[in-house]
Symmetry: C2
Subunit: 527 residues, 2 copies
């Protein structure tokens, strides 16, 4: 196969430029195994250094940029992404094998532009800055930009979590910071096309162009150096626990806030009354959720709890049948399929029983059989750590428990998760059990759900896409939800006795923005 010699450029300091190249790499089409033609650079430290220098300048420039201009940039970018839909979804499909429709075109890209627009609204409103005025003492505080933010996007959302267009990008920019995006090496071309639109949107709105930068890949060593650099304000990372923990250590050693989303098995508990009432519908709902995006969602249910007995058997039988019947779809990469298989093997080694699947699937691409495993509460309790391993893909494991005490013990051994779900009877027959297990599940998860699957993550101000370690690195923050996600990329700044004409406009006695909520002497006041 002929490989084109063209090497993609990196976006540094407001310009597409030749990378300082350590080596090059090609993405792969996971649906075909074909190596994609364009070569991408693995940058040396020199590129990181240039990007940091530009980001530092951008951080200073951004202090003089009005909220309206930041919002205009975000909106222009959203509009441009819509205009470029055809090209973007084709590129993302080629690199990820995710379906063009509905997934990329009708769900993920609209979600991405919606996030950018919600961020723009938050920027204009300014309430996210949580301006707090103590008029009597003349002490005032608010959240101000933290400085250059490094964003590492994950493999599974080429738009909505991409370092150059996703939730962390929108939040960091909305909070007034420049972003250096590190593309995920599984979709460099998608990232490049997004960055092209970002640069054009910056140019056409007069937003500092060096505030949006993109590099494709760096060595692990340079990654650790990058997150601990003095010029960095903060880091956002979504990805594997292994990579995340290395970056966490490096950033924290240097005193840099780093927000990581790393792993989650998202337990779904079906209480007996719920299954008795709606066994068939719930089986379908579970299958839909487990197989959405080939199970490659951060909130995909990896652990399903059922009450031991004939209803559970019948339910699991339905799920197994559906798993066998539903078509497989390609995973994001062949490497991911290998890891997934290693995960299934590890669960089996840890005593889980394979109900269906467990092998690479027929058909083109990185397909894996829809895989259902099962074990008992007793087994789970004998190896709680090994049996709550995240397996990223179209795999789930059911656990049958004999009684509520067994479930209580399981929950006591549960590690931190993004979500936890309880399905219960509509007539109240599960209420007593609910009241016993909820207090054990609640502290282990960032979001608690009733009677619905966790795979939908609405961009709501009340959303928490976060949770206790090791799901994330800090249980007090969410990476989805506007304006809440913005404060991750902000610092608290207090003004004590500062003369009024020297205060940031939002902290003065009267402000011109009628939409801004501020806390004045203990009361929230608008405008």
């Amino acid at each position: 196969m002929e490989i084109a010699q063209e090497l993609a450029q990196v976006l540094i300091d407001g310009k597409w430029q030749n990378a300082d190249v350590e080596s090059t790499f090609h993405a792969e089409n996971p649906a075909t195994g074909e190596t994609l033609p364009r070569a991408f650079p693995v940058s040396t430290w020199s590129d990181c250094d240039r990007a940091l220098a530009a980001a530092s300048k951008a951080a200073v420039e951004l202090r003089g940029v009005t909220p309206d201009k930041i919002a205009s940039f975000l909106e222009a970018y959203a509009f441009r992404l819509e205009s470029a839909t055809t090209e973007l979804v084709a590129a993302a499909h080629e690199e990820t094998a995710l379906p063009i429709s509905p997934r990329l075109k009708d769900v993920e890209l609209p979600r991405t532009t919606n996030q950018l627009r919600q961020a723009a609204t938050a920027v204009r409103e300014e309430s996210w800055k949580r301006a707090t005025l103590d008029l009597e003492r003349n002490i005032r505080s608010y959240f101000a930009p933290i400085g250059p933010v490094i964003v590492f996007g994950p493999n599974n959302f080429p738009f909505a979590f991409n370092g150059i267009s996703g939730g962390d990008f929108a939040a960091a920019i909305a909070a007034g910071n420049p972003v250096i995006a590190k593309a995920h090496p599984l979709h460099p071309n998608t990232s490049r096309l997004l960055a092209e639109q970002a640069l054009k949107a910056a140019e056409e709105t007069g937003f500092p162009t060096r505030a949006v930068q993109l590099i494709y890949a760096i060595s692990n060593e340079n990654g650790l150096r990058l997150v601990s650099e003095p010029r960095v304000g903060a880091v956002g990372f979504t990805g594997s626990k292994n990579a995340g923990l290395h970056l966490k250590r490096a950033a924290e050693e240097a005193g840099k806030p780093i927000y990581l989303e790393m792993s989650s098995i998202n337990p779904v508990i079906f209480l007996p009354g719920a299954l008795a009432e709606e066994e068939e519908r719930l089986a379908r709902e579970l299958v839909d959720s487990c197989l959405a995006g080939a199970g490659q969602f951060c909130t995909s249910p990896n652990l399903v709890v059922l009450w031991d007995g004939p209803v559970a058997e019948s339910f699991l039988n339905s799920v197994a049948i559906a798993f066998r019947e539903r078509p497989t779809q390609s995973l994001l990469s062949f490497a991911g399929r290998k890891q997934l298989h290693a995960g299934v093997t590890a669960l089996v080694d840890a005593s889980a029983e394979l109900v269906t699947g467990g092998k690479p699937a027929d058909g083109a691409g990185a397909r894996y059989q829809n895989t259902l495993l099962r074990t008992t509460g007793k087994q789970f309790l004998s190896r709680p750590h090994d049996l709550q391993r995240e397996v990223f893909g179209n795999v789930t494991m059911a656990v049958t428990v004999r009684n509520v005490e067994e479930l209580q013990s399981m929950l006591e051994h549960l590690e931190g998760n993004l979500t936890g779900t309880i399905y219960s009877s509509k007539t109240g027959t599960d209420n007593e059990t609910y009241s016993v297990i909820e207090p054990l599940l609640r502290p282990k998860v960032g979001r608690l759900l009733n009677d619905k699957m966790p795979t939908g993550v609405a961009v709501s101000p009340a959303m928490n896409h976060g949770g206790p370690f090791p799901a994330t690195s800090h249980p007090g923050f969410t990476s989805v939800g506007i304006p809440s996600a913005l404060t991750r990329f902000a610092v608290l700044q207090s003004y004590d006795g500062v003369r009024e004409d020297r205060l940031p406009p939002i902290l003065r006695n009267t402000i011109s923005n009628p939409a801004t909520w501020r806390s004045i002497d203990g009361a929230w006041v608008k405008g």
Copy 2:
């Protein structure tokens, strides 16, 4: 000298009990050098383990405790501290040499009880939980308790920052968590007396007694183990950078949020116009601030910047005279005096010139001469790291700069600080300089002041007693200020589609508390 054999007990699981003793220690009266009679235990891991087990139970119990009961405990504790004033201030004076009046009796203890009462008010109001309701999507979130909090108090505020009575204690309890306090070994008896009142206040208000626990000392190894224990929710630490960084690494490795306040030199910049107008008053203000509490405040000005020239010379001359004339007071310990002297020596070795002081002072106790050093901007820039060393005590260093560019360079080399202060002309002659240096100083400090010294830290909702690393471990949080300090000890919890009768009361459609501010569909609503 005869040493009493009585060994103090630790407060674990709601009871005063014998410690599991690794070794024992005695505090010292720093004003006399005398070893104090009561022996205190250095606990083994077994005590930590028992305290953690009790704290875990307390965390569960606290979920069933109403805000009103938590508030009542805090208020009863505040009242008890007032009733026990005579005994408390005598003990603190004996262990710290801080003056009984006004410092301990009229300033620090009232501040402590004020903090406890402000925390009680915040608990009753519940607005700190930042309840957020998205009614259309039925997603709701709020801040919930994080679990057992370990508090390490510093040496310099035996009441107001004590692990068992200070700001971190008040914030952690107010957020609904149990506290395990690690007393500072320089004032164990004061901590013991405070804990006696805490236990009695818990008993008389029906607050879970095991939610307030006290140990006096543990090995460094057990300290690291304690902060990284699975049963721990979070850690609060105020103290030295060296100890803090070790605890930080251990806690973060285990994924535990840790909030540290470590070091700060609190630059105070006198612009030329300010000195020209009020040289004498400002010299007095600076001297008062530098020598308050023998300079042992986290916000004590360690670095003073002046414009090179005759006014600076005259100003420094006034300061030097005052430093020589003002009586010295004992430092908190002889060990502290040794460290302070080592710090002065290090500054001199780094090219600072000693103007006055620089030696242990005459008189009883751990006194050190009020010490003024000076250097130039040029020298500072040649060794910026060595010359911004925090020296904890009655020592300050002046830097004379030749022009605004030199000051700009200095500020670019400034590390993270709690505070930064600019004095400027009242008639506007310094405004241009202010506008050039403020953007450089602002991102380096948590609190920016105009025309007043940083040593006062008001307990205001708009206060930021925090700042960029290495002043603290996270620039988004404050350790002083209610309710803002509470969220450090809270986790974000979201409820998605949860049936209304299962929601925490504060997240239901209607609530009974008329004082609570909630964010409902983007608007702040009270009650």
